[in-house]
């Protein structure tokens, strides 16, 4: 049986029918990782021993007829910025090269409670600061559709697209997860702020980032999201149960029913610029047509602050990064420069040697942004823009049910291509608003251009992940799924 192409449901059925054991499933994916990861570099750490133990445990549960969930015995790849007890968690940074957390992130505990198997830790830019994985301390990740292209900023999307894991969880600070999903031809969700606990996610920009699921199918994405979402007493920013914006745990409506009267908002500012590649634009607009052809409506919108959103995001993300990354000082854990003669040198050398280029750039920029001289001009003004962005979206959602935009401006770039920092930040032009406004953003494939996948972004207010899943499923039905060369025999 070729396990790597099966959906979550199919894997679950095979398990329950005893056609395959959890150990065999995990073993098969471990094999694929061994075979393909040296080329792709999607995983920083493969947790073979722990994964096989968890798979055995799942087999015991199944054998004893105990309660199982859709995730029991299913391997999940976990981003290496998410803490896993007893498994190295490097954040793709030299400064945490040998860090083994003594605790699990809440999402990891939830996966384990559901019987899932953490198969390994996936690569990304250092602490997620970047858009191409080019800033990983452990080398860039390759795009499984074309190894000479960048995959977006997330190894989890690559792992799923290449069939190295059926599912992955990762994080999204400005669009890295959604962009990687689009470039790798898989589905990825950045949940609304507070939907999923951030406890155990090594922070880069705490007010912007969320942990989210990645899968090859929308239905799998929804099932995985249900396991991740929910209130957490360990995260004060997690929405309490029953709060407005906290969606219920059940998404029964992922079936591809064309929603009658669906109003899809198309913000002018996201389609107007010349930087949007024509082929990408055409595919995205075609997707809009598919979704509204029967009974839907396209609503023309304007989000005037869009042009400032990216600048605000750059400033806030840098400000928060400078603070979040300050704890890595070599004193208590992580990398420590061996040559420091005093405490100031210890800080300087440890951080100089431990952090890569982009992390340093954000630390410097963020330190400037928060300095007494610049705080008012940069930090406060960025927060004001953020408020405007939130207002504009709130207003927009009175006119439409969801908003549809491109995920990326263009097709995946050449691997190793040198971009100016600004150009690199612009990679996230279409995705940062969801982080600023705390919206749910789902990236789902809508077609191929030159054999490379293109994604469409669906945005909804907090608590409407159910709508995103439904609509994404409709689109998926219409355009079909896209299998990377790694999944075609």
């Amino acid at each position: 049986m070729e396990l790597s192409t099966l959906s979550l449901k199919e894997l679950g059925n095979a398990l329950r029918k005893k056609a395959v054991s959890a150990r065999e499933i995990t073993g098969a994916f471990l094999e694929r990782i061994k075979r393909f990861n040296p080329d792709l570099n999607a995983f920083v750490t493969v947790a073979e021993e722990q994964a096989l133990a968890a798979a055995n445990e799942a087999d015991l549960r199944l054998a004893r007829g105990e309660r199982v969930t859709p995730l029991t015995g299913i391997p999940v790849a976990v981003a290496d910025t998410i803490c896993t007890k007893g498994i190295k968690t490097t954040c793709a940074s030299r400064i945490l090269e040998n860090f083994i957390p003594p605790y699990d992130a809440t999402v990891v505990s939830r996966l384990q409670e559901a019987g899932a198997v953490v198969i390994g830790k996936t690569n990304s830019d250092e602490f997620g600061a970047g858009t191409t994985t080019g800033y990983s301390a452990f080398g860039p990740v390759c795009n499984p559709w074309d190894k000479n292209r960048e995959p977006g900023g997330d190894g989890g999307a690559v792992a799923v697209a290449a069939g190295l894991a059926p599912l992955a969880i990762s994080f999204d600070t400005g669009g890295n997860l959604r962009r990687a999903a689009a470039f790798c031809g898989v589905a990825g969700l950045k949940p609304a702020y507070g939907s999923v606990s951030r406890f155990g996610l090594a922070a880069l920009a705490p007010s912007l980032e969320q942990i989210g699921p990645l899968a090859r199918q929308v239905e799998d994405l929804a099932l995985l999201y249900q396991v991740l979402a929910g209130p957490d007493p360990l995260d004060a920013t997690s929405l309490p149960a029953g709060a407005p914006g906290r969606s219920g745990q059940e998404f029964t409506g992922t079936a591809a029913t064309g929603r009658p009267g669906l109003r899809i908002g198309l913000p002018r500012e996201y389609f107007a610029g010349e930087e949007l590649q024509a082929e990408v634009k055409d595919l995205v607009l075609a997707a809009t047509g598919i979704l509204t052809e029967k009974d839907g409506e396209q609503v023309d919108l304007s989000l005037p602050s869009t042009g400032y959103a990216l600048a605000a995001h750059i400033l806030l993300a840098a400000a928060e990064a400078s603070s979040s990354l300050a704890r890595y000082d070599g004193v208590r854990y992580g990398y420590r420069s061996p040559e420091a003669a005093d405490i100031d040198l210890l800080y300087k050398k440890t951080r100089t040697e431990g952090f890569g280029r982009e992390a340093k750039r954000r630390i410097l920029l963020g330190t400037l942004v928060l300095s007494a001289e610049c705080y008012g001009d940069y930090y406060l003004n960025a927060q004001k823009v953020r408020t405007l962005v939130i207002r504009e979206f709130t207003e927009a959602f009175t006119k439409c049910d969801l908003i549809l935009t491109p995920v990326t401006r263009e097709l995946p770039g050449r691997a190793g291509e040198e971009k100016s920092p600004l150009r690199q930040y612009q990679d996230e032009s279409y995705t940062v608003a969801a982080n600023l406004a705390g919206l749910s953003g789902l990236s789902v494939p809508c077609g191929l251009v030159d054999g490379l996948p293109v994604g469409v972004q669906l945005l909804a207010p907090a608590g409407r992940e159910d709508l995103l899943f439904q609509v994404a499923r409709t689109l998926e039905k219409a355009v079909g799924r896209f299998s990377s060369p790694f999944l075609r025999g």
Binding site: P101, P102, Y103, P233, A236, S323, D329, Y333, S371
Partner: protein, 483 residues
């Protein structure tokens, strides 16, 4: 020329909650290093702060006891600087939106004048860990203890309303008294749970402008506070008198052994702490009802208590002060009063006298001692009923203090009951008269002083247990009867 000293204080007070302020670790002083720590208070990746509601309640309590406004909306900010015992490289504190604002505390100046010292604010923050330096140079090293990391701390900031080191000391003592009273902190300077930075400047008397301000850091005892401020006031005064006022604002330290302050760094070079709102903590929203609930639960404060003692019990200001300034003492005093029907002053005298003496001797607080208000009340009743003498009572009291036994049991065990049986005493009186013909003759010759000697003999014979009034009466009667 006369100079005026202007002082403002920043007081850091550790709250005595069970748990730390942003994690579940126990808040304990004096434990083995690094035994009350977790990934949270060690600043490990991804661990998030969860606010301890008790710490907020204690801060509000302090705010209410000090007449502050409690902000319905306040924020936590990150105060950022690198130090090895600051695990996240930022301290979670409150910047421009603190939990308590305004307020004040009334003191009586050394000159006897009543004066309100206004408060600027009280905010809630977390404590850093502790660094222990050892040796120096190439062989020197530092050890870190994170047990303290994340303990809840409040910072109380006064307006520049204090006018002398003595006033500063009075203010701090008063503040300590109140915070102990409302049971939010032990306020132990020697353990670091009550510490203070002082801002001081000196100006010509009558001037409206402030002089250049010096900040003296880390004053860890009342003695240090008074000595350092006195030294600094004199130093600044001399500079003014010499026509060379200080050129810059400075942070200064206090050298206890040399008895002088020393230059640390200019104020302008102070660290830019890059405060910004902590994205991990939502704004702190306080419901009015909760504040009222806390207010209703506040104990009677020392000032109110003392006023009531004077008014209701007719105690002197001095007695009211002695009894009212420690909550435990006041509670012991009042509990005894409720159980005893005699004079208030009698209870007051025993609490301020013998009880205070023994507590002091043994370095105990009323609650730590074995003596219960019930026992003291019972003993006082026994004195009133003539069952024991006042002199014997001191012995009984001491025994109660150390053993915790009820007075009746002690009296019975030790045979300390007063002898008031006339028939028993009269026999003894006659014996004594027979044994001492000399003094008897003296008495009969009009030397009434001899009676004292005879009373003493009876008391000696009864080991002090004879009822002295009765002995007196019986001796007179028997002497009259002599032929």
């Amino acid at each position: 020329m006369n100079y005026e000293t202007v002082i403002g204080l920043e007081v850091h007070v550790e709250l005595k909650t069970e748990a730390k302020v942003f994690c579940g670790c126990a808040a304990r002083f004096g434990a083995e290093p690094n035994t009350h720590v977790c990934p949270g208070c060690l600043g490990m990746p991804g661990v998030l702060p969860v606010l301890n509601k008790k710490a907020v309640e204690f801060c509000i309590k302090a705010g209410l006891a000090l007449q502050c406004r409690i902000a319905p909306f306040s924020m936590f900010d990150r105060k950022q600087y690198f130090y090895p015992d600051l695990p996240q490289a930022y301290q979670i504190s409150q910047g421009d939106l603190p939990l308590c604002t305004g307020g004040g505390l009334k003191i009586v100046t050394p000159g006897g004048e009543e004066k309100i010292i206004r408060l600027n604010r009280i905010h809630l923050e977390e404590e850093a860990g502790r660094t222990y330096h050892s040796g120096a140079g190439a062989t020197g090293y530092s050890l870190l203890d994170f047990n303290r990391s994340g303990l809840p701390l409040i910072e109380i900031v006064t307006e520049p309303d204090l006018r002398s080191p003595a006033e500063a000391k009075i203010f701090l003592e008063k503040l300590q008294e109140i915070l102990r009273y409302i049971e939010v902190s032990d306020c132990k300077m020697e353990e670091g749970s009550f510490r203070c930075d002082a801002n001081i400047s000196v100006r010509p008397a009558g001037s409206q402008e402030f002089g250049r301000r010096m900040e003296i850091k880390n004053l860890n005892s009342f003695k240090a506070i008074q000595s350092a401020l006195t030294y600094e006031a004199n130093r600044l005064g001399s500079l003014l008198a010499a026509g060379t006022p200080p050129e810059q604002e400075e942070s200064r330290g206090w050298d206890e052994t040399r008895g002088m302050t020393f230059f640390m760094r200019p104020k302008e070079k102070a660290t830019d702490y890059r405060y910004f709102p902590d994205p991990d903590l939502p704004p702190l929203v306080i419901a009015e009802e909760w504040v009222e609930e806390i207010r209703a639960g506040l104990p009677e404060l020392p000032e109110e208590k003392k006023a009531r003692y004077m008014e209701e019990y007719g105690l002197s200001a001095q007695d009211a002060d002695l009894l009212g300034s420690s909550r435990e003492t006041a509670e012991f005093f009042e509990a005894t009063l409720r159980l005893y029907s005699g004079e208030v002053k009698t209870v007051a005298n025993w609490v301020m006298g013998e009880f205070a003496r023994l507590l002091n001797l043994e370095k105990l607080t009323p609650i730590q001692s074995k003596l219960e208000p019930e026992a003291l009340a019972a003993m006082l009743q026994m004195i009133d009923a003539g069952e024991i003498s006042g002199k014997i009572a001191k012995t009984v009291f001491e025994e109660m203090f150390y053993s915790g036994k009820p007075p009746r049991e002690i009296v019975a065990e030790k045979g300390l009951a007063q002898i008031s049986d006339e028939s028993q005493l009269v026999v003894l009186v006659r014996e004594i008269l027979a044994q001492h013909p000399g003094p008897v003759a003296d008495y009969r010759a009009g030397k009434t002083k001899a009676l004292g000697f005879l009373v003493g003999q009876v008391m000696k014979e009864t080991k002090g247990q004879a009822n002295p009034g009765l002995v007196n009466k019986l001796l007179r009667e028997e002497l009259e009867k002599l032929p």
